[in-house]
């Protein structure tokens, strides 16, 4: 019998080709660039040295941005989790005939440019934005509240960008839970809340965990919300990279920061997988059905 195990790979080949040429090769370029030298004149000189990496750790300024990026990402994950679980659970429980429509609303933001969505927060949170306008009009406050250009505004922008990812991930996980499991738990003596804690919550963890990881990684690489909604102190690591490469055309240093970010995220994803055991949970669940 002929070995036909190569056949499935034919189906994968277009995407593998695309990933190779559009992702793997550019990343290799970036890695190569990160070892180059930058002449005072601004020219890039091919070299193999670790000066760019050393520069990053020389000054506490750069690592501090990395740390604050991680902190913002962590905060965003927590907020996304809280605000995402509730609607996802609602979708799981509801028998409403409007459910498909409401699900569509979750996806709706994807139809509008990310930049426009982020910019629109200026009209809501700004000094003459909607909220301040209304509060001033009804004499709740006498001078506009400073809601824009701070970390809160950045997280707000991230939240509206990332919430759909969290909701959908959790929903998919919840939707796979057999409803008779909660019924069984209740028949054995659980209240609704106890049944949620014992059954629904643990079984939705794969979705929660995948959603959290996705939100975390996406936050670490985002630069638009801090650029548009943040103040001078709210820069994130991606803004730094953006400034180095686009602003000062310092490709070697920008590349070095990129590589550092990538390595850091890979370590985080790996450890996360290892200890939160997404793969493990997925395995258990797929055996179940």
């Amino acid at each position: 019998m002929k070995d036909k195990s190569w056949k499935p790979w034919v189906l994968l080949s277009p995407s593998l080709t695309a990933i190779f040429f559009l992702l793997v090769i550019p990343i290799c370029f970036v890695i190569v660039y990160s070892f180059w030298l930058r002449a005072p004149s601004g020219a890039d000189i091919p070299a193999f040295q670790f000066g760019n990496y050393a520069k990053f750790f020389d000054d506490f300024f750069y690592p501090s941005i990395l740390l604050s990026t991680l902190r913002v990402a962590f905060e965003t994950v927590i907020l996304c989790l809280v605000f995402g679980y509730i609607p996802a659970y609602f979708f799981y429980k509801t028998r409403s005939r409007f459910k498909p429509f409401l699900m569509l609303l979750v996806m709706l933001p994807f139809w509008i440019s990310f930049i426009i969505r982020t910019l629109s927060w200026i009209n809501i949170l700004g000094d003459s934005g909607l909220i301040n306008h209304l509060l001033l009009k009804f004499h709740v406050i006498s001078s506009p509240l400073a809601m824009l250009y701070n970390e809160g505004a950045v997280i707000m922008g991230l939240l509206q960008y990332l919430l759909p990812f969290m909701i959908l991930n959790i929903y998919v996980s919840l939707d796979g839970i057999d409803k008779s499991l909660t019924e069984a738990a209740k028949s054995l003596g659980c209240t609704e809340w106890q049944a949620f804690k014992e059954v629904t919550l643990p079984l939705s963890l794969p979705g929660v965990s995948a959603g959290c990881l996705l939100v975390f990684v996406l936050t670490c690489g985002t630069y638009l919300p801090p650029m548009i909604l943040g103040g001078p102190g709210n820069e994130m690591i991606a803004n730094l990279i953006f400034k180095r490469i686009i602003g000062t055309l310092d490709w070697p240093f920008g590349s070095a920061i990129s590589v550092l970010l990538m390595v850091l995220l890979m370590v985080i994803v790996y450890t996360y997988n290892r200890y939160m055991g997404i793969n493990q949970i997925f395995k258990t669940l797929s055996n179940e059905s």
């Binding site: 008779s180 499991l181 069984a184 028949s187 003596g189 209240t191 014992e198």
Partner: protein, 389 residues
Amino acid sequence: MVYRVIIYSGSEDFYARLSWETMVLKQEKDPAFVKFTGIEKRFGKVVAVKKMDLEIPEGSLVTLLGPSGCGKTTLLRMLAGLESPTFGDIHIKGKRINDTPIHKRNLGMIFQNYALFPHKTISDNVAFGLKYRNVAKSVIKQRVENALETVRLPGVGDRMPSQLSGGQQQRIALARAIVIEPDVLLMDEPLSALDENLREDMRREIDNLQQAIGVTTIFVTHDQREALSMSDKVVVMKDGFIQQQGTPEEVYNNSTNHFVADFLGHSNFLNAIVNKKQGDLLSVRLEDESHGLAVPAAAFNKGDKVEMVIRAQKFNLGYRADHVPEQGENVFFGKIVDRSYMGGEVSYFVELDNGLVLHAINFVKRSPYRRGDEVAMTVAPEHCRLLKV
């Protein structure tokens, strides 16, 4: 619960005393341990269960049998507390439980798909109900072990549900339900996810277990073989109504309406008109002007339109040429148009001279007949029943 005190008087016999001691608190079974009164359930405009009254005796195994959509599962779910009735009351042990939330009803529930918690070990699954009853940990451990032994799966406590086969999982579900010593055990099509052979084993297992622990059990199924083989009482349902209830023999042999006779086993229906009384039997005129004798299922008058029901297994077949007419026996002549061998028995479709096709099932030993053979089908009047049309 009613206790009856039996006192043996006048005997000094040791054995009599012993039995006095053991029987002094002999329980009398409550005939209406679970009671539905005027129960009705509507989902929007759909009426799933209609004005139903049903009593379930203590310690019995009662089957709710019917095609899908007959309301049997809804009835079970109302008892479990997973649905609330639109009208009517549900009593368990004489106590109205309509407003008792599910977690306080003390019922054991078995689901079609086992519903074991996939993220908990077998022990944790079985211990689940005990944990919420504030049973001490050491006691839980012992009772879980006992329950696992009861379902003949000792030593699997540390495994995960996904590591067990379907039949084993359902036995764990059974252990999980009985370990809490429920007032009533509810089973919603517990065998339908299992394959044929396993289903038979599991059916016997449930039957034996129920007998052994004597828990009042309500079993929902659409499979008549399950219902007939294991129940103390079968409740046949259709369109939200109870069609008939009684022992398996009663509902099978003395079906009181067309639906029950048709749903259980293989029945033949012949239109007839009542002629006259002959002892306990009624003489009727069949469509082809021939006469028949049958047992009336209700009081009929001369000229009433009725339906004569004959079970396919009740016919005796013989070659038409060999037929000797016998007094008081119903006989039908026809030609075999279809024959299928089914292992233990043979199923025949016989076309009568008037075009009607009857279904007969005979044991293989007594069945040398082939397709195209002219046969005489005889059946004793006591195996023919007359039903209202």
